[in-house]
Symmetry: C2
Subunit: 294 residues, 2 copies
């Protein structure tokens, strides 16, 4: 059994990006610049954006955190996005979700210039992905592909079962794993809340990608021997033995499932750390794309 | 066993659209206008475009066929598309594929204004579909949804197996059948050329949507009792008993599979006729959308 070590791989990727940035600086060129817009004071959102800013510092990117108050109007946010779209100094930016209720999230995501949409949430980029065109792949799916690729997990002709159909993980992963590419070329089944007898389907899977958000949902008797497990679940479970009062738990009963698996991601330390690394990678790609267009 | 009669349903839809057009005329408003661009002299393409123009006439739409020579350059075609994008008189248009080799198809499809893209092939529209937003659904998948809906075929919690992953049928159908909607809410498996033991998967299916293009591929021993069969295959098979010298054959061994099926589409007369009806429906939707925007 091999652990798919997202912490290690994400550090490798950050090191590779930092090398690229050094070359950029040596060439006397502008380093990549990521901006993050955050509206309101949600604690988790501030933590996420804080990590993204720190990751930028670590690899040598410029970063800008745009903080807006909880009472920001939709028009004010759209104006800010327009400003970021037109700012040649910014290569890519993200709008941290969720947004306060007075703002229409869909309208906001549609306002982001697709060429700066390093989260890959704009329909234009999502559509390009679904049509096998070059684009920004959303960070979490991109991170899963990278883990699979760097560990050389075989995907062609395998049966991949995706649990969950969210726009951020389930749906893009089901598209990506079925593409004529590596990683890809899997037979893909998407399961969700309306799926009956899910265990009959998971037992057939060579690869399971679970993005359900139900702690310990996937048990050992639901998988076959040598299964590959990608656990995207991140749920806070109360735990008094931890200083923070909780621990992060995935969708998979790791202790028992790992005994049957050939590859498995831990939680934490699996898919989670990959997400920020791939956001940085998308920002680097955005900068290269803008250079080619200039 | 019930035949999913695409010929009958497509005629119903055309009648409904013709009624709408009558109301539009009674209100003294402009009728929907569809344009079709065809480059070169490919016989099948000319036949398809001819049918589309005749369908427009039947429902009372205006239509324009733009014929360009086989030696048209990419720039000339892009100029023509720009002209159609800006022509307020045209509600929607299609560029008939395939295009001659000197023209980059992807570039052409990207040049079509998404608001006039009644084929639903633009990544912006494909992305909106994949993100559950309102958009133009490509005509063939849209026609399949309509058949399922009008015959009241149950899809929720069912296992739908899609054979083929093309951009035009397989991939959009796999997304649409998994959506939180009716038709939809199916557990969806996508199979393709790299799938192993496909018969093990098709035997589990409650619904099979086959878009492979291999005559009589799906045999009776590959399906379970009461399966729902949507056959999207259209292959010309030589047949000297026919005046044209060939007959149109689907992916399914209709004679034997129909004995086990609860619902089944014939070929011809199943999905095929639905496609043009849904192109008309998209054109009507495009006109309504432009009216709202005006």
């Amino acid at each position: 059994m091999t652990i798919l070590d997202g912490k290690k791989i994400s550090n490798q990727i950050k090191d590779e990006i930092a090398e690229e940035v050094k070359k950029i600086i040596d060439d006397g060129e502008k380093v990549p610049h990521l901006a993050a817009v955050i509206v309101g004071n949600d604690g988790a959102s501030l933590t996420y954006v804080g990590s993204k800013v720190r990751a930028c510092e670590r690899v040598g990117f410029e970063s800008t955190m745009v903080r807006m108050s909880n009472t920001t109007s939709e028009v004010e946010l759209l104006d800010k996005i327009e400003e970021l779209n037109e700012d040649d100094n910014i290569d890519g930016f993200i709008v941290q979700l969720p947004l306060p209720p007075q703002i229409n999230t869909q309208k906001v995501l549609l306002a982001v210039d697709p060429d700066k949409d390093v989260d890959g949430f704009h329909p234009m980029n999502f559509g390009k992905m679904a049509l096998d065109m070059s684009t920004f792949i959303p960070a979490t799916p991109f991170g899963i592909l990278e883990l699979i690729e760097r560990y050389g997990v075989e995907t062609q002709g395998k049966h991949t079962v995706v649990i969950g159909r969210s726009h951020i993980v389930g749906r893009p992963m089901s598209i990506l794993m079925g593409r004529k590419a590596f990683p890809g070329n899997s037979t893909v089944t998407v399961t969700h809340s309306r799926t009956k007898n899910i265990e009959e389907i998971t037992r057939q899977a060579d690869i399971i990608i679970s993005a359900l958000g139900v702690p310990n949902f996937l048990k050992a008797d639901m998988v076959k021997d040598d299964v590959v497990i990608i656990d995207v679940g991140i749920t806070r479970v109360p735990d008094e033995t931890r200083e923070r009062g909780y621990r992060i738990t995935g969708d998979v009963d790791f202790e028992n499932v790992s005994k049957k698996a050939s590859f498995i991601t831990p939680v934490p330390g699996g898919v989670g750390p990959m997400t920020i690394a791939m956001l940085l990678k998308n920002t680097l790609l955005a900068r290269e794309r803008h250079l080619r267009q200039a």
